[in-house]
Amino acid sequence: MASMGALAFDEYGRPFIIIKDQDRQKRLTGNAAIKSHILAARTVASTLRTSLGPKGLDKLMVSADGDITITNDGATILKMMDVDHQIAKLLVQLSQSQDDEIGDGTTGVVVLAGALLEKAEHLLDKGVHPIRIADGFEMAARCAIQSLERSAETFPLDVNNLEPLIQTAMTTLGSKIINKCHRHMAEIAVNAVLAVADMETRDVNFELIKVETKVGGQLEDTMLVKGVIVDKDFSHPQMPKVLRNVKIAILTCPFEPPKPKTKHKLDVTSVEDYKNLRKYEHEKFEEMVQQVKDSGAGLAICQWGFDDEANHMLLQRELPAVRWVGGPEIELIAIATGGRIVPRFEELTPDKLGYAGVVKELCFGTTKDRMLVIEECTNSKAVTIFIRGGNKMIVEEAKRSIHDALCVVRNLVRDNRIVYGGGAPEISCAIAVAKEADAIKTLEQYPFRAFADALESIPLALAENSGLNPIHTLTEIKSRQVAENNPALGIDCLCKGTADMKEQHVIETLHSKKQQILLATQVVKMILKIDDVRSPDDGY
């Protein structure tokens, strides 16, 4: 009988077509399909393998437009790689969803998935049914998570003692390019999150943390502003550069005579009328400025612009103003200063004004770039991290790294259980899973063991990237973990002389590790379950 994908013939030899364009489709079935998927996925994973850990290396990616990105962040690398293969795309989504949920550990999850697939391939060669492998992996993952939860410790989350939080943030930043000013960055991240965190509901609204970047200066100049930075300057160069104890009017209406939205036409028939119109416009300006002045505001921040005439008038009336401030910034300023956004001049009242202790213009070096800093506001719930750095790529990477660190701190605020990093949890899980494996009667024993082996690939990669002898280091740590029954022993990537991650303060959140294992297992299961691929032939 004719198989799919080829033409079928009836008994007179006439071909008949069952599926549209079937001669132009490609089909892959059975183990061949699974093998080809595994190969694709492993290729992706091996790209990321060298980025893992504090001594992991960066990747340089040039996009089609010639934009250069240098990064160490797994999710970013995969996003930039622009993969085309369906299965590889799954891995990209995998790291993406780890990024969305946790923000950290994006490399680890892909490496783990790759390792699991590699082990699955061996089992397939032995003739184990792919679904049984997947089921076994899933059981093993559950076992690993139980072991993780057993070894997890509660983290002292104390607003007055930030040291442990900073240590954790430092672990995350350790692998990034900015580890030059490691501690400085970690402190910034911790302070930023704690400033906006709602400790009661354990919720952190990231929209209140803004990350601004500016090329120039050094990484050390990066700072946390308890307020808002706006990439704008005062509308007129002669306006004062620093304002103190100022009341702010936040306006979303333009400084110009109001226009009806309905289509309209004004007939100007005589010179008189024309003069009237001019007068009207002028009066309107005066009135607006007066309204702002009357409310007691010392600074006007406008979402829209105003023309030079208005600008001049504002200067005359000594009302500093900022124009063209974007929507999100307006919102942040309003939250920070405790003011209300005012859509009409008529509604401006003194109690709708925000308050800031200092509003100043920052100048950078010899460039004429200026930025506006609004600080000492009534409500410190909006903060801005202002990143400086030698070149655009560093600044961008620093931004990504800070984001990772922010996420980690946020996760700790949400759930303060932790495990120790440096491959320690993977090794302890591997030991637990391998032990469990022997107690299983059925075929799942093999996938169980394979899972344990795959878990070890993370510490292996860590050791390899750190220039240590991988097998030697791993076996040593593993035997010590068993002998000392200490799940905090990991790979000493930084050669500090101790393998105890507790002493090294290498900390990761339990939630992140759990997610890594669960997500990787999920995707591996999905890949293993596919035995039939149908795609247009011009594909890969």
Partner: protein, 540 residues
């Protein structure tokens, strides 16, 4: 010479006679081969890539058939029955296709031997009738009035439906959730009252069921962050009005004579908007949802008055909110009374993964619920959604129609035995036909074994023996590679699924058997239909 009579347009393909039936049967076999391997808990998935590069990974028979883009007219029948099974009961789409294919395969020798199609059709009809009757006879009806027992029944049915899907490891978790979800609905069990949302990230176990409505935060304007994000028993206004400063009439044009009127027009426009807003405020509504955009002025107005608003809410979400919270969708704010405002116990905006969700819980009319699916990759969640859909359909069906039979091939074996027994009492050609149908029914357990990698002949022999001894519910035990009483093992399916599958499959069989001529018009715009690859034609 006899003149040639041209009846049909050139290029028209016409074939007829017995050979046509055979060739149709062959085409159907080819289609069946596509979905064969997806049956059962050890069934595999298919990955299908469309021409645009969109990939779908699925195990659902109907989904696969839909994506195959079948053009062969006879084979299309199979796609249609899969679809109809999907629409009618939602599950068993693969089995219906396999059954139909097997019926045809068994009937092929009769066609070849010259039995008239109508006789075959009569035989098939009779066999189906007997089978359906028998299912109704032996189906087990647990007591419906017992809440606990009904729940258990539903959960087991859901678990069986999900057994073959990607999420089978979490089937306990999901079956509970699905039953909870269906239980929340009112008597009519409308499917669209269960909303399914997908958020990447998190583990499958993080999937949550919201007893109420949840939808993704909509696009918001400046000022949104200043609105409160939590209310207890708020009044909810559901609108279909644009709350934005805009031209009231699109094509209107105003001609203004003098400058004073200018201001009046502007004021008038503002008054229109402010009137609306004030009415909303005065009505006491705390949450304002609109299908149409809510502009920045309105957002800030609401923020000022501690109200929450969301514009551009998708229509189905708005409708579900209406169902849950009461009230009605208003197209005017003219008469806002309490009766048209909805309410719920608790409203909050909550972070789930990378998105923020608006969640309404404790709704007075809670006839709706929302399932928020979490998972590693886009396709993973899509498949989860399809699986949950199947399970929900099954639970709905089972709730309306509570008779169940044992799955795992048990009912098919029992039917097969029953038909074989009956066939022996019939004289005439029908005896052969009915026993052929009986043989065809065995395909389901056989395929289950094949997919799981078992020795199907061996297991089938065991099953036949057990059934002959009167063990009615013996079916394939996938976990232990053996036979077991599937009624006890709680592999249950609603009898309706089986009845529908059987009748649909036999309908399709009869339809295909009764066709003896196909006339296919040439494709317009293209040359004569392709004659196949050169050299591939067999000599006549």
């Amino acid at each position: 010479m006899q003149p040639q009579i041209i009846l049909l347009k050139e290029g028209t393909e016409a074939s007829q006679g017995r050979s046509q039936i055979i060739s149709n049967i062959n085409a159907c076999q080819a289609i069946v081969d596509c979905v064969r391997t997806t049956l059962g808990p050890r069934g595999m998935d298919k990955l299908m890539v469309e021409a645009q590069g969109k990939a779908t990974i699925s195990n659902d028979g109907a989904t696969i058939m839909k994506l195959l883009d079948v053009v062969h007219p006879a084979a299309k029948t199979l796609v249609d029955i899969a679809k109809s099974q999907d629409a009618e009961v939602g599950d068993g789409t693969t089995s219906v296709v396999i059954l139909a294919g097997e019926f045809l395969k068994q009937m092929k020798p009769f066609v070849e031997e010259g039995v008239h199609s109508q006789i075959i059709i009569r035989g098939v009809r009779k066999a189906t009738q007997l089978a359906v009757q028998f299912i109704n006879e032996i189906a087990v009806k647990p007591k419906k009035d017992d809440e606990v027992e009904l729940r258990q029944l539903l959960e087991k049915c859901a678990a069986t439906a999900m057994g073959s899907k990607l999420i089978n490891q979490q089937k306990d978790f999901f079956s509970r959730m699905v039953v909870d979800a269906v239980m929340m609905l009112d008597e009519l069990l409308p499917l669209n009252m269960i909303g399914i949302k997908k958020v990447p990230g998190g583990a499958l176990e993080d999937t949550l069921l919201v007893a109420g409505v949840a939808f993704k935060k909509t696009f918001s304007y400046a000022g949104f962050e200043m609105q409160p994000k939590q209310y207890t028993s708020p009044k909810i206004a559901l609108l279909n009005i644009e709350l934005e400063l805009k031209a009231e009439r699109d094509n209107a044009e105003i001609r203004l004579e003098n400058v004073e009127e200018y201001q009046k027009v502007v004021d008038a426009e503002w008054t229109i908007l402010y009137d609306k807003l004030e009415k909303l405020h005065l009505s006491g509504a705390k949450v304002v949802l609109s299908k149409l955009p809510i502009g920045d002025v309105a957002t800030q107005y609401f923020a000022d008055r501690d109200m929450f608003c969301a514009g551009r809410v998708p229509e189905e979400d708005l409708k579900r909110t209406m169902k849950a919270c009461g009230g009605s969708i208003l197209t005017t704010v003219a008469d806002l009374e309490d009766s048209v405002l909805g309410t719920c116990e608790h409203f909050e905006e909550k972070q789930i993964g990378g998105d923020r969700f608006n969640i309404f819980t404790g709704c007075p009319q809670a006839k709706t619920c929302t399932i928020i699916i979490r998972g590693g990759a886009e396709q993973f969640m899509e498949e989860t959604e399809r699986s949950l859909h199947d399970a929900i359909m099954i639970v709905r069906r089972a709730k309306k129609n509570d008779a169940v039979v044992a799955g795992g091939g048990a009912i098919e074996m029992e039917l097969s035995k029953h038909l074989r027994d009956i066939s022996r009492t019939i004289a005439g050609k029908e005896q052969m036909l009915i026993s052929a149908i009986a043989r065809a029914l065995e395909v389901i357990p056989r395929q289950l074994c094949d997919n799981a990698g078992f020795d199907s002949t061996n297991i089938l022999n065991k099953l036949r023996q057990k059934h002959a001894q009167g063990n009615r519910w013996m079916g394939v035990d996938i976990l232990n590679e053996d036979v077991a009483d599937n009624m006890e093992k709680c592999v249950w399916e609603p009898s309706l699924v089986k009845i529908n599958a059987l009748s649909a499959a036999s309908e399709a069989t009869c339809l295909i058997l009764s066709v003896d001529e196909t006339i296919k018009n040439p494709k317009s715009g293209e040359g004569p239909a392709p004659q196949g690859r050169p050299g591939a034609r067999r000599p006549f």
